[in-house]
């Protein structure tokens, strides 16, 4: 979407403010009535772009002209960007990436042990999966964030680790809303958790299909009930999480049906979900919450040289760690769901333990 003249922003990540101008993009003429939806009708069996319109050179030239107008380009900002302050530089004993249950616990532990600690988190407010799970919620997130700050952790919220560069003895580049940071650290702890993923069932991309964690976040962190009749599609590995979400949704007044992934055979509805088809018949609903195993957010650790392994039962490419939390890269540690899905309680416990190990294994460095 385009927000106050700035294109290519993600609606789920930009924060709203009074007076903001919000426009859709990549739809024609509008997101409500999108004629580009005809593509689904014209190519109902999917399109193979390797052979699309390659039979005739005239048609090919025309098709390319059209395709290039269609997507991803956006309209340039209306105004030049404001001048930014100089790049922020930090040199610390420990840099923790990710402010969910694992990262907050790890950072609190290293700071309490006297190690200068910085924590970067990309969300509006730290807390990660604590804010999506009815068993923890906003108060737990705010409390553990406050604990970290009290322990002496410098917390950079709304700050995304955008890359690790081996130059200058290793530097992590972090983008904040108004400035770039270069972070140097003696030890690194990756606590980036996992991404909510969609599950493979037919018609799994209709509007109204949300991640169970997103439905949980709406309810737990924002007090919004996402639907009156909710179907949770789940896999057995996260049955405990799905049960907790179902109970919280029911308590908030929703009807909830829990459906195993293998039973879901299709979805109905044009502009929004109206029903889920299952092996046991149609279930009317106005929201589908997809509870898959979160995929470890291991692309940052991979840049730093950490070994990962594809482990579907752990959610995806998990960072390989030993019993202390050490990765295969020197000075680089990892804890919580990025090492394989454990959930908020297990992640907090793992984070605290790995934080202690990092403190014990390192001396405070006088920068």
């Amino acid at each position: 979407m385009r927000l106050s003249g700035v294109p290519n922003l993600r609606a789920c990540q930009a924060s709203c403010a009074a007076g903001a101008e919000v426009e859709g993009q990549n739809a024609f003429p509008s997101a409500e009535v999108d004629l580009l939806g005809a593509v689904d009708f014209l190519f109902s069996r999917g399109m193979d772009h390797h052979t699309l319109m390659t039979g005739s050179s005239v048609l090919n030239r025309l098709a390319n002209k059209v395709v290039r107008q269609l997507s991803g380009l956006g309209k340039l900002p209306d105004r030049p960007a404001a001048e930014l302050p100089a790049v922020g530089v930090r040199s610390v004993d420990v840099c923790v990436i990710g402010g969910g249950p694992a990262g907050l616990a790890a950072a609190t532990a290293t700071a309490r042990a006297g190690r200068s600690t910085i924590l970067v988190d990309d969300q509006l407010r730290p807390g990660g999966s604590l804010r999506t799970d009815p068993r923890t919620g906003r108060r737990a997130a705010e409390g553990r964030w406050a604990d970290a700050v009290t322990a002496g952790v410098e917390v950079l919220a709304r700050s995304t680790a955008i890359g690790y560069f081996p130059e200058d003895d290793g530097v992590l580049a972090v983008s904040s809303p108004d400035r770039l940071y270069r972070i140097h650290a003696a030890s690194w702890i990756w606590a980036t958790g996992g991404y909510p993923v969609n599950l493979p069932f037919p018609d799994n991309d209709r509007p109204g299909v949300l991640a169970a964690r997103a439905v949980g976040r709406l309810l737990v962190d924002h007090g919004i009930l996402g639907g009156d009749k909710v179907c949770i599609i789940e896999v057995p590995e996260v049955a405990g999480d799905a049960a907790a979400l179902a109970a919280a949704l029911r308590e908030a007044g929703a009807e909830v049906a829990r459906i195993a992934l293998g039973s879901a055979t299709g979805t109905r509805g044009r502009s929004w979900i109206t029903a889920l088809d299952t092996l046991h018949g149609k279930v009317d609903c106005d929201l589908i919450a997809v509870a898959g195993i979160p995929a470890p957010a291991s692309e940052g650790p991979r840049q730093q040289g950490c070994k990962v392994v594809l482990d579907p039962t752990a959610g995806g490419f998990r960072v390989v760690v030993d019993e202390h939390g050490r990765t295969s890269a020197i000075g680089v540690w990892a804890c919580g769901d990025v090492t394989g899905y454990v959930g908020p309680a297990g992640a907090a416990e793992h984070g605290a333990r790995v934080g202690m190990n990092v403190a014990m294994a390192t001396m405070a460095v006088d920068w």
Partner: protein, 105 residues
């Protein structure tokens, strides 16, 4: 006809696309990425890499641990260029004579 099973939402890659790709003989995750375009959208694989790799293991009858991830490169998230423009480190190669010489050689 059964509905589409979307694996990569950014680039609209379906399970059927992946099956077609494997039937053409592409089994390596980098080849699959280049053929289908999965993982090349705004999320750069955050949502879809695990799903595609897991399905690829099943379709090609390989153990999951035999499938490596595709290469991760900065930036890890969409980043406004104006942030980088203020970094003196980003400009240093412009004034580096060694770098210029390497380029001209």
């Amino acid at each position: 006809m059964a509905g589409k099973i979307v694996l990569c939402r950014c680039e609209d890659v379906t399970l059927a696309d992946l099956e077609h790709c494997v039937s053409r003989g592409y089994r390596d995750i980098e080849e699959v990425k280049r053929y289908t375009g999965f993982g090349t959208g705004p999320c750069q694989g955050k949502e879809c890499l695990a799903a595609v790799a897991s399905q690829l293991a099943v379709l090609t009858d390989q153990p999951p641990a035999a499938i490596p991830p595709f290469t991760s490169r900065p930036p890890l998230a969409p980043t406004p260029l104006r942030l980088l423009a203020r970094d003196p480190g980003a400009h240093r190669f412009a004034d580096d004579p060694d770098r210029d010489r390497e380029r001209s050689e």
